[in-house]
């Protein structure tokens, strides 16, 4: 296209063309279909809450995560994630101990936080949603995560890897974790799961 022609095109047409080009580029780098296992070393789950009635945002993480992915057509795609509640890590031993107690997660009675997808939708731009059932504190509720494809490529051993980020906001009281609302921490909890998975 020459410059004269480009300058006469409406802005909306240029924007649409850019999007289509980016989508095509993303499609060229499509995530290889297949079964994947979550890499526990390079995957992590975070939570973020308002502390002390919302004075500040406080973040913690779970260090022990496992699960499986099926990557492919939307109707065939699946995500299953299991997180060990005992691996909660706020960089403070005393707070970790308190979070594992019956005041909050009750890690002895409910050792695992898990998510199993029921539906996955992804646009050509690699963004979409994953709906499923989240089990936390022994309570299972439907939750929808925003899903974003991060990238795909070969790992250090030549294995095929894919990366995703899933995020959502839940209310901990929906899962029976009502202690200290709102003075200790807020009811709303932001969850973010960074996933790297290895093709099997």
């Amino acid at each position: 296209m020459n410059k004269a022609l480009l300058s006469r095109l409406p802005l909306s047409s240029l924007a649409l063309a850019s999007l289509l080009a980016a989508g095509a580029a993303h499609a060229d780098n499509a995530f290889p279909a297949g079964n994947y296992k979550i890499d526990p070393v390079h995957s992590v789950a975070y939570f973020e809450v308002g502390h002390a009635g919302g004075i500040s945002r406080f973040m913690g993480r779970f260090n022990d995560m496992s699960g499986d992915l099926v990557v492919g057509a939307p109707e065939k795609s699946r995500i299953k994630v299991d997180v060990k509640v005992d691996s909660v890590d706020t960089r403070n031993e005393g707070l970790d101990k308190h979070l594992k107690s019956p005041d909050f997660f009750n890690a002895v009675q409910f050792p695992t936080l898990s998510f199993v997808s029921t539906a996955v939708t992804l646009s050509p731009m690699g963004e979409g949603m994953v709906a499923g059932n989240l089990t936390l504190h022994g309570v299972t509720k439907p939750v929808t995560f925003k899903l974003r494809e991060v990238g795909t490529g070969s790992g250090p051993k030549g294995d095929t890897r894919v990366g995703y980020v899933a995020s959502s906001t839940i209310k901990r009281s929906d899962f029976g974790m009502s202690y200290g609302i709102p003075k200790a921490t807020t009811d709303e909890v932001d969850l973010r799961i960074n996933i790297e998975a290895v093709k099997q």
Binding site: G94, L95, H98, K100, S101, P102, N106, V108, G176
Partner: protein, 278 residues
């Protein structure tokens, strides 16, 4: 300056409510000549505190371990029947039942062997402490009052509550504190103000409830077994003083019992400081 929006609910749930409920029931039941009103009033004081503290989380049917607390309270009242029967051997089976209700929700994650061991050791400890305290308590409602049993109970429960609030579970700590308040009101206030005597039945109910709360703390909130044993050791104060073959002075027993309780609180403070506090 501590935040009043945090302190006031704490005082209300763990001090005012159990004290008011326990005291009101003692007056209502006119406990002067009967053994059962005092243990019932103590249990009711703890139940009131439990409902005030835990109502937002409680569910029926029970979902998490602490949801079973009302059943634990009912079972603990079985101590009245055990003492009335005059068969102290029944203390252990009742203690086993209470320990089982506390421990069984952890069966899935802890495994059957560990749970059975926990139930057995908790029950044996509760039975030993119940027997020690019952030995020191006056048998008849109209007998002269001895302040030692309720004082030891209030001290151990209060110290446990403080240690738990500092280092393990604030919720269970609040309930321990409430139990200490109820035991203190039932056993220490002057008889002309509040009738009733802290007898073996009251000792049994209070020890079973305290044992259940410490079992919750140990199994679900990582409260060390060593700390539980130190608190239990405080109940040996009165029998140890009695070995001196003179009437155990309540003050001497209280001072002796205070040593392990203060050690537990001190260890909890140290653990909090070591972790940097939050």
């Amino acid at each position: 300056m501590p935040d009043s929006s945090f302190i006031f609910p704490l005082l209300l749930q763990s001090l005012l409510i159990p004290a008011a409920v326990c005291g009101a029931l003692l007056l209502m039941f006119n406990a002067s000549h009967r053994a059962w009103p005092v243990p019932v009033a103590i249990a009711a004081g703890l139940l009131a505190s439990y409902l005030a503290t835990y109502h937002a989380q409680w569910s029926f049917p029970p979902h998490q371990a602490l949801d079973w607390m009302p059943l634990v309270l009912l079972l603990a009242l079985g101590a009245i029947g055990v003492e009335r029967s005059g068969r102290p051997l029944l203390r252990l089976p009742l203690a086993l039942l209470v320990a089982a209700v506390v421990a069984w929700p952890a069966l899935g994650s802890a495994g059957i062997a560990k749970i059975l061991l926990s139930i057995a050791s908790i029950a044996l400890l509760m039975t030993a402490c119940w027997s020690a305290l019952a030995q020191a308590a006056p048998r008849r409602p109209t007998a002269p009052r001895r302040p030692t049993p309720p004082l030891l109970l209030a001290m151990v429960a209060g110290g446990a509550g403080l240690a738990l609030m500092i280092d393990a579970s604030q919720l269970i700590g609040q309930l321990c504190g409430a139990l200490g308040i109820a035991a203190g009101v039932a056993g220490l206030l002057p008889r002309r103000r509040l009738p009733g005597n802290f007898g073996p039945a009251a000792a049994g109910v209070a020890v079973l409830l305290l044992g259940a709360l410490l079992a919750y703390a140990h199994i679900y909130a990582s409260f060390g077994l060593g700390l539980v044993l130190l608190l239990a050791a405080a109940f040996l104060a009165d029998p140890l003083m009695a070995l001196r073959r003179q009437p155990a002075a309540w003050l001497a027993s209280a001072v002796l019992a205070a040593l392990p309780v203060m050690a537990v609180v001190g260890l909890a403070v140290k653990a909090m400081q070591d972790s940097g506090g939050y």
